[in-house]
Subunit: 411 residues, 2 copies
């Protein structure tokens, strides 16, 4: 492990990603395997002035054992200490850092219906609590290799080599190297994302039309009052933060009730540790009315049935085909990377803060504008080298947004 690069990476996570401020409380969630990184990040949070840093240890293996043996009733029951922890996180507007190192196959042998059912109530509670503080806390998700994840990405290497290779990839994707100033590089990259948002926001789009040779032919209206965002977010208190490291996307809210046509996925989706491949969806009035997958169809079905709006879109995101993650020609089996390799959508909950003055509207008013409400938010990738996106503005003009997979205006 290169300690200089780890230092720079942890710095980026704490001081740009979460942007921890003096006196704040921070919660880090991490696997046991990457505890060493969580410890480095924890110390940096304190050095940035955090008042208290709690750690939530995540261990897939004990979850798998619980899913195997415990009854659904027992698993569904929200333990009082879990509820107390969620309330504490939200009451204190705790800054949240998540180290993502999921084994894409961790839950492949688990009954997907039992798993989905047992998490419904706790997901609902968490959503209700975090909805109340939307836009009032910083959060950041960044990656670290686990042995199993690394072996999935580099199956022909030993565990140790695979982990090292994946670290090298992560550093590269995250613009971390010894010679350059990662904070300056991230500023430049952020400016580029902001520029794309400006271009899209100036167009004032009514709908976009996706087409490619795989069969995608989809018309997606944007939610009323939508705005495109990318790069840094800013809390209501005025603290900017970078929710995802890395990030290559600009995104907004599609209209939950105005999506029609066919959409074909271009990357496998890792949902709760199960891989879903070659998805095809037919939309009518915003709702999936037909779907298929060559693998993981059962899991996909459970996902789309998590609640009544889990089968409607909550995010639209544009990523040029020519970008460092896609150029690595590596399938990462991780949404954090793969979503940033490619144009994507998400099923489920939308980001209300991509609606102009969203804080002035009630949930019902936002829903009328096209904002989707769900306990899930699951990204899936649809970008391809021949993807074309035509934008139709409210003024009635057609504008080429994507041509052969990339932003047309950046050529």
């Amino acid at each position: 492990m290169n300690n200089v690069l780890i230092e720079k990476y942890a710095n980026l996570i704490v001081n740009v990603g979460a942007n921890v401020q003096k006196g704040q409380i921070v919660d880090i969630s991490s696997s046991l395997e990457n505890a060493w990184l969580a410890e480095i990040i924890m110390e940096k949070c304190y050095q940035a002035g955090a008042k208290f840093v709690s750690i939530q240890w995540v261990n897939d293996k004990t979850s798998v054992i619980a899913y195997k043996y415990a009854s659904l009733d027992v698993l569904k029951e929200i333990k009082p200490y879990t509820r107390a922890r969620l309330e504490w996180l939200t009451d204190n507007k705790v800054v949240r850092i998540h180290i993502d190192d999921d084994d894409p196959n961790a839950f492949k042998d688990v009954d997907s219906e039992k798993m989905a059912e047992s998490s419904k109530d706790i997901s609902k509670l968490a959503k209700d609590l975090f909805d109340k503080i939307e836009g009032e806390y910083q959060w950041c998700i960044a990656a670290a290799p686990s042995k199993k994840w690394a072996k999935q990405v580099f199956p022909n290497d030993t565990e140790e080599e695979a982990v090292q290779k994946l670290w090298n990839m992560i550093f590269k994707m995250c613009r971390i190297d010894e010679a350059t100033d990662e904070l300056a590089l991230w500023k430049e990259h952020n400016d580029k994302l902001v520029n794309r948002c400006k271009f899209l926001n100036d167009l004032d789009l009514e709908y976009v039309q996706y087409k490619n040779s795989l069969g995608t032919n989809l018309k997606v209206y944007l939610a009323d009052g939508h705005i495109w965002q990318g790069g840094k977010n800013i809390t209501k208190q005025g603290i900017d933060y970078l929710p995802n490291i890395p990030t290559e996307e600009v995104f907004s809210t599609p209209h939950a009730y105005k999506v029609d046509g066919t959409l074909v996925s271009t990357f496998p989706l890792n949902y709760n540790g199960v891989l879903i491949k070659d998805m095809r969806f037919t939309f009518k009035d915003g709702k999936v009315i037909d779907f298929s997958a060559s693998e993981g169809q059962d899991t996909l079905k459970h996902m789309l049935n998590m609640d009544e709006n889990a089968n409607r879109l909550g995010e639209i995101a544009l990523v040029p085909y020519n970008n460092p993650i896609n150029n690595s020609k590596t399938l990462f089996y991780s949404t954090l990377f793969d979503e940033n390799a490619s144009c994507h959508f998400a099923f489920g909950e939308c980001y209300n803060d991509t609606i102009k003055n969203y804080e002035k509207y009630s949930k019902e008013e936002l829903n009328k504008k096209g904002c989707n409400n769900s306990i899930i938010h699951v990204d899936f990738m649809v970008g391809s080298s021949d993807l074309s996106i035509i934008g139709h503005t409210k003024k009635g003009e057609d504008v080429v947004i994507f041509e052969n997979g990339n932003f047309a205006f950046e050529k």
Copy 2:
């Protein structure tokens, strides 16, 4: 790692130690390093019929970082989720299994006063809650090597070799090998401990007099109505369990106000990760009125001042000098082993269930009988090869209990 031995060991912990029953809830506390063992134990708990198994991950390194940076006020504050968890454990009379692999030096660089102060309130809350369900839940502490602990025991070996050696020692001390039936061996050993208790209980002692060549010369009255216990415990619901694996001791409650003379320790004490060596205590009317240590005197001072009765005895335990742990001639730097190598006492809280019909008495009544109340319970070793213990019975007879470090009646 020998999987057969690990299986046998985990079986012993779950089915003899904690003796998990159908429908019970179990909580396992484990370090991250020994998560693999916690997972095996967790699965065995479910196989024994547990309804739900929760895991509490313990990580000394993040605690050390918190002690370094967070303020005492922040550390002292009992987080609502911690309180909720303690209440859940006690409301449900949850069975508790602790995997002990403490690094004896984990907290050596931490401000011992800050550490002691920050745990006072939570210790008090935990004591109050667990007092309410005394005798109503099973618990078991068993060991597993951590790299740091193993290196402390075997400093001249590599980490890997030290861990393997310590595992071999643990298996041996715990009577686990491939050829023999560990459950039969534990039954035989338990019968021997029960026999010692019968001998001591039949004597009906008033006080015991300890003497050896190191300077120990101590008169200890037993609490009124005391009984000697050893081996298996039994809950009020009638479930037997083995609180410590291994165990070689028989123990009872000394009179908190009737201890006089000099007591010299014979093993170092590991308290909160700090080693305290060569302790000497002078007692008057049950209280330590003078003490010294060649190392860790500060920590010892904080320990004895944790509350007003932390400097009185709460346990008296007899262990023959000739026993497998002591015969290994290994200093384990772990109370679980070292206390079972040697006669010992504990400062602090007594075990009320070593008083006849303890459940019929109030706290005040028990205290009048000589039962000590404190938030700490810390064992320290006083056995030696020349230790003699003379018992003075209520009938006025003097009986030799220990001669040259061993039970005289077993010669």
